[in-house]
């Protein structure tokens, strides 16, 4: 039971129960507001009856040529609302916008290599591990770059896995 709508600044004052989750980072203000100012269509919040925040997704669209893609920066769901496929709904929404509105080739995301529950979930949603990024998280833990091709990438070229891992310096985007 979800009302999914655009995230707005006031939601920042209400998302504490979601962000208390240990894997959900609370970024500085300019980070959130840059996303809101540049990609408001990629920043959505799910609200429960009574107005509680169930979770949210933030992302962006970037790249050039065939690497024009949607990117999931964060997706998180409050513990009370887990195991209801809410993350899936939010991801589908972002994929839809990347696909239909921005005509992107694929959607990608980074996940901690140790975060098995998340990796499994993304796999279920159709993402594949495109490459491993060495010591991506604070110079310690490896990250996995996972991708899902969109309709514009007819031959699914964007998701052919790289054979070797890359370092953070080799990444095209921040």
């Amino acid at each position: 039971m979800t009302t999914i709508r655009r995230f707005c600044c006031d939601d920042l004052l209400r998302f504490a129960p979601v962000n208390f989750d240990h894997l959900t980072e609370t970024f500085n203000m300019s980070f959130y507001m840059t996303y809101l100012a540049r990609w408001p269509d990629y920043f959505h919040v799910a609200e429960a009856p009574g107005g509680r925040i169930m979770g949210y997704i933030m992302g962006k669209v970037e790249g050039q040529g065939e690497s024009w893609h949607g990117h999931v920066t964060a997706v998180t769901v409050a513990s009370e609302y887990r195991r209801q496929q809410l993350a899936k709904k939010l991801m589908n929404m972002l994929e839809d916008i990347s696909d239909k509105m921005d005509k992107a080739y694929f959607v990608d995301l980074f996940v901690r290599a140790s975060n098995m529950p998340a990796i499994k979930m993304y796999e279920k949603l159709g993402y594949v591990i495109y490459r491993r990024v060495l010591r991506y998280y604070s110079g310690e833990e490896d990250g996995l770059d996972m991708r899902k091709a969109l309709s514009r990438d007819v031959k699914k070229k964007s998701i052919i896995p790289l054979k070797r891992p890359v370092t953070p310096d080799e990444l095209e985007y921040d």
């Binding site: 920042l12 507001m33 998340a118």
Partner: protein
Amino acid sequence: MASKYGLAGGIPERRVRPIWDAIDSRQYKNALKLCVGLLAKHPSSPYALALKALILERMGKLDEARSVCLNAKDLLYSSTAVHVDDLTLSTLQIVFQRLDRLDLATSCYEHACAKYPNNLEIMMGLFNCYVREYSYVKQQQIAIKMYKIVGEERFLLWAVCSIQLQVISSNGGDKLLPLAEGLLKKHIASHSLHEPEALHIYISVLEQQGKYETALEVISGNLGSLIGIEVDKLRIQGRLLARARDFAAGAEKFQRVLELCSDDWDAFLNYLGCLLEDDINWSKASVTDQIKLSNSVDFQNCKLSTLTEEVFNFRLSSALSFVQNLQMKGHNDCVRCPYLATIEIERRRRLNGKADDFKLMEVLLNYFNRFGHLSCFTSDVESSLHILTSDERNEILEAFGKSSESSSTIPTKAIGSAITIFKIQELFDCASCFPVSDLEAIAVKMVDMYCKSLCLSRELDPQENMHGEELLSMACNVLVHLFWRTRCLSYLLVAILVLEFGSNIRRYVWQYKILLLHLYSHFGALPLAYEWYGTLDVKNILLETVSHHILPQMLRSPLWSETADLLKEYIKFMDDYFNEAADLTFLAYRHRNYSKVIEFVQFKERLQHSYQYLMARMDASILQMKQKTDKLEDVECILENVKHGLQFLELSNEAELKLLTFNEDFQTRPWWSPTSSINYLLETFEEGTAHRREQKHQVDARECVTRKAIEWKSLLPRMVYLSIQVASSFLKENIELNGSVSDIDYTSEFKCLLERYARNLGLSFEDATEAIVGISEGKKSFKEYDLEMVHLINFAVFVNAFNLCTHHLEPGVGHQQSSWHIVNSLVEKCISEELMHAQPILTSPGNNLPILVDLVTESISWHILVIQSCLRSVIPSGKKKKKPSATDQLNLPQLQPVHASIQCLTNSIQDVQTWLEGQVNKPEDESLDTLLSHLQRGDTEQGPHQIFRILEETATESNPELGERISGSLQCWNSANVIRKLVVAQHRSVTEFHCICASKLRLLESFKQLI
């Protein structure tokens, strides 16, 4: 920044690049050297000067930076031949901004715009300057100019946004809306619109003027295609139709939304709202809501429907059949909206007095059967459960119980349903009516159930929530309730152990952390509470919304360094945000997300008026003063930084207080302390009264209390300052009686502030004076006044200081005692009263340590400052030039009361010291044994002991079904260690306070040596 160079101010890029590289890599010395070289070649280049200023600013040489910047500005203004570009201007702008001189940056841009009238880049820079200054009219004017030059849609929208901002920020600004509409219309006629955000703004301009039909025509016409997602368009159309009171058409739109997104609860509420022609929610939507495209409806406040019974029933029946249809279509168990909708329909029926009562119960039970195992079940149906009668509540609980026993075969679902039932009991506040034995049994059941269900989580990743995690939070809630009722310490200790046990198994459960932090706070183990707060990783915007969990306790504690850190981090976050807020707004302008522009400005305003921010700034200064009371000069420096206390008086004027915003998120607070100013555990439990009072009422009352607290705090620094001032001349009155103008000024201001202070306490100045005199003479007692003692004693301290210059309270003139004596007597009485009731912190949660801390670190400290100031005036410090007649001025009879005060403070603090010493010197093991005995003694079959036993047995028995990870963490469990940590933390609190008292005593001793 480095990417922005090019031909800057006519200087070749290759000469500039190394300087930027050095700046970017923070090699400022090198950058400066290179820049000096550049200036040698281009001495009259404003750009080179701007770079130099930038480097100097980064090096912290602010004065030099300012002067170089001003040189560059002069150059820009003076020479007609000089090359001016946006890079030069923007570099200067950065420095001016950092030097807090936005006005100078703006005037540079204004000058450049006048010089190059059609340079779009510079005009955009100027627009940005106005954005930074929040000058909406000027923003509008320059945007219109740009629009006229190039005719681009974006500049028109910049102007329209600037108009919207004027409308929002002022009364009567809405006369501008027709202008905005006219501009847009004209542009659309010739160029159409190309951006979805432009269309949103156009619609909101129409909506704000109530032109719903026009807005509908626009969105339903060609321009509507700009909205890429069909349901978004339908939602807007639905909203507009409802606002235009075309409810039938509105309902149709929302029905269509539900067909496409059957789980959209908001759409369902809007659909129902339209069907029932419930227009209260549509017409009052604020401008902000319209701009944010919000469709939210407050259905808690639904009033009686105005429809006839027949129509009402017909409409609800059609809604019911529609949602039943949706139920049939959906096969996904994750879609709950069509099912919850049936409950909402019955709820509406009942609110209108047209209900079949069984029906509501029936749909609730159906919903439970389907979704009862979900963690969010209770919050889903909360509003419907609230309207049940008490009989119905019992009935529904029974029905849920039966249903969960008979249906759930999957263990995870069974535990989920059981948790839901406990949660509903919690919601109904059953704890207040159940007998103690029943409550004990419930707590035991919860803990037992948690331990037995551990095996269900054996395969789970440590990152995932475990099944039944909530049971321990709920058990804690019940145990705390039992403690409240019985005052039996073992309940509280077991509540702590239960949560620590859960955290030991999975350390990521924030609900446990918050409960623990509050339990430890109440138990006087603040260092441990602070540690748990640390594990919540509260930072950035969370500092605004959730630091209420720890900050109020810390401010009344002796943990000064941690408290200062908390305040510093919070204030820094807010200040940093305010510094960058305007640039982020400009970013939204640049990226053509106009609705965000308005949202950003409003959000910044909201945070700017945050009560917590205002409070924190005052608290930070007051805390600094507390930390430095040993040295009068240091306190004077602190006061100087806040304009001798005037700054806070200005910040807390009535107009500002009206604008205050309260942004805390109280959702996560424990039941016994729903806001930071309420702690039920400090009150007595009264049989049969529900502790959960109306939430809204609590919040309103709290806001009122907070406004008072702000006023009170804002007065404090200024009154301390005035006290120091008048005390410094108290022995010189004869000499300066006619000569000192400033003293006379202080007198009237001081009197005025004392009156305000008294008013803030709810008393007139005369009544407050009478109170302190009465108490000091033993004719009245503190208890007669419903006030915190520290406030009254502070008043006495300030009155005494005031008296030094006015002799308002003179012995023999209606009063028997001097004002010095009044302070002494109040301090003495208050401390002895507190110590008489004081229990050792170890076994008395919620004890009076904070009150004693307040007395010593506030009232007594402010009085010590007065004494210091008096003494300084007669005994100049060694380094100062000794006045030749200083000793002659020593008027011993007049110093007598000072001396007596010093002795009185010494005695009182010594009494506190003695009380503290008993606790500081108690061996840790002894304290540990005392607490452990509360857990171990007595009948082991009684609730708390039984729970303790369950935890211990679960930890020690080896159960292969639990898997390696859970078994491993159970092996590490040691309840004695948990209690020991508690003891250590309490000990630290007491020790810190002991140190503060010791330092005060040393100071007072040094005064004695002086006279």
